[in-house]
Amino acid sequence: MPRFTFHRLWAIVLKEFIQMRRDRVTFGMMVGIPLLQLMLFGFAINSDPRHLPTALRLGDQGPYVRTFVAALRQSDYFTVVREAATEAEAAQLLQRGEVQFVINIPEDFTRRLLRGERPTILLEADATDPAATGPAVAAARVLAGNVFDRDLQGPLVALRGRPGPVDLQVHAHYNPENITQYNIVPGLMGVVLTMTMVVITALAITRERERGTMENLLATPVRPAEVMVGKIIPYIIVGYIQVTLILLAARFLFQVPMVGSLPLLYGVAFLFITASLAVGVTFSTLAQNQLQAVQMAFFFFLPSILLSGFMFPFRGMPEWAQWIGSILPLTHFLRIVRGIMLKGSDFADIAPELWPLLLFLAVAMAIGVKRYRQTLD
């Protein structure tokens, strides 16, 4: 029986590369889709919202307090719309969504500041949409650290610098520390890869069949595995371009931290990209024409986006949905990416998510190779 050979594999790879390069529209889409998605989500997240409605509850009206409030107004992030007399009134304003922030200044603020006792400024935030509050909170922190510097003269100079003359406490209501971009942007990497990788290879073999080039290919000694692997390899590179684009955007557009190891992430991405491509090629062997192939790809894409934990929290889904979700490669890749980027997971941490990916890849490839018809029947 003739074996898999690398010269034939290489012939297919080269051919696919040339065809990919010639097909400018498709190639453009593969780079364009991630960018477009990022932009859409970028606007939806609106990472730098300003002029957020703010209420003040001032227990003290001293000059230092006036300095702080004036600086707040100047920062653009805060628009003071109300003064609340009581704690209850302030709480109600937040509850109703009339303001995004309440800034509380205690009664003995000035006295304690001058004594160097670091009085507390309490910033209460409606963090339902954490993306909306994040930058404003960050701005308030900076202000609290240095706004009094000009007023602190003579013996008070010592209060400048660290840890600062006041203690800014942030109290995030409703959604403590759930930061949207942190979740969405890494998740987007998996979603974009699933979408483009599956579709692009789903077309790979059906295209040959529709254009009639399959007859020629089948008349040569080329083996099914050579065709399939040969069609996958060029798109692995495209997948890595997408990963890189999204990581760059995550870093510089959305300030998502990269806590863990970048090489580890790139390494694991290989498995996920290959698995997605294998699904596509397998669809390609099942479909009669290109339209069917695209339909199959979308049929796969929908549960991937809905049941993987990208759209809805995985643990909140009913058991059957979790079960389906656990089969999908995106579910495991999402956990891996979030783990590496946000929690700094190492290889041992993500290993439990690797096995399902590997298994999925093996099964998809096996079905594809088995279904690849070596005749025109």
Binding site: R8, I18, T213, Q374
Partner: protein
């Protein structure tokens, strides 16, 4: 690889659903032979060729191709066969050179670059090698396909209507090339609808509705048809043709420019029919039936028997 026969198959049958497209075909082709494969549209020529090179699995029949079993050793067969499909099936978004290079890599042609260069040179496309195959005219596509099917120096060449849409000069060059290759020992099985091409084959087979109706050299095929043909010259041939058609014994009446060919298998009946319309304005000579007359006769008879 042993034996004199490049192709030796018996009882080859292929059905698509209920329809038998190739029915119990036996075919023997000698090494170094140019074998013509003729038949009307839809007679199963392409289907038969696809079974020879492993693209379709026969429903019945057995045999060998280049000494390999057509049912079990398709992979070995594919390595030694060059197949030129009826419809252009190279990559239109690859350049001429890239297409040749791709095929050469697949077959692991030794000294690939030189082989591709040589092929481009022979093709006369050396200076247009970077043009996309999709931009070539129909005839040039055919030539490219032929060059590509030869690049791995196969033992057997299966050509499915290679000269459809090719101009006369190129067609003649093509056939010169085929004869030159056959002289080096290459076996060629070629389908065509052109009679002049059929006559340039060493032997022929005629297929209609999946059945092999005739085979042999041109002379043998013509002789086996036992067709008598009268050639008529003179005025108002169209009217004469009308009055001849339908008479017993007259199977074909075909106008060729200034002559009319009247043919039938039963010489006596035909002579009687001719006698009834014969007049002094026309000259009547008993002539040699042409291949075309024979094939049209076979096709008409086949329609009565199988269709």
């Amino acid at each position: 690889m042993t034996g004199e026969l490049a192709i030796d198959v018996t009882g080859v049958t292929k059905r698509f659903g209920a329809k038998t497209v190739v029915n119990q075909v036996d075919l023997q082709v000698r090494r170094g032979e140019i074998y013509g494969f003729l038949g009307p549209n839809g007679s199963g020529k392409t289907t038969f060729i696809r079974m020879l090179c492993g693209l379709l699995i026969p429903d019945a029949g057995r045999g060998t191709c280049l000494g390999f079993d057509v049912l079990t050793q398709q992979a070995e067969i594919k390595r030694q066969v060059g197949y030129m499909t009826q419809r252009f099936s190279y990559y239109e978004d690859l350049s001429i050179r890239e297409n040749l290079d791709f095929i050469a890599r697949i077959y692991a042609v030794p000294d690939r670059r030189a082989a591709v260069d040589r092929s481009l040179e022979q093709l006369g496309l050396a200076n247009r090698s970077h043009q996309l195959a999709g931009q070539l005219s129909g005839g040039w596509k055919q030539r490219l396909a032929l060059a590509a099917s030869l690049i791995h120096t196969p033992q057997l060449l299966l050509l499915d209507e290679p000269t459809a849409g090719v101009d006369p000069k190129a067609r003649r060059e093509f056939w010169d090339e085929i004869h030159r290759l056959a002289a080096t020992g290459l076996t060629v099985l070629i389908t065509t609808h052109y009679m002049d091409e059929a006559e340039r084959c060493h032997r022929l087979a005629y297929l209609a509705y999946g059945n092999l109706l005739a085979r042999g050299t041109v002379a043998e095929v013509v002789a086996s048809a036992r067709l008598t043909t009268w050639i008529v010259r003179g005025p108002e041939l169209a009217a004469l043709a009308d009055s001849l058609r339908g008479r017993p014994g007259v199977e074909q009446v075909v106008a060729f420019g200034n002559t009319l060919h009247v043919s039938g298998r039963d010489a006596a009946l035909l002579a009687a029919a001719v006698g009834a319309v014969r007049d002094s304005r026309h000259t009547w000579t008993l002539g040699q039936a042409g291949l075309e007359d024979v094939f049209i006769g076979l096709m008409d008879a086949a329609r009565d028997n199988f269709a």
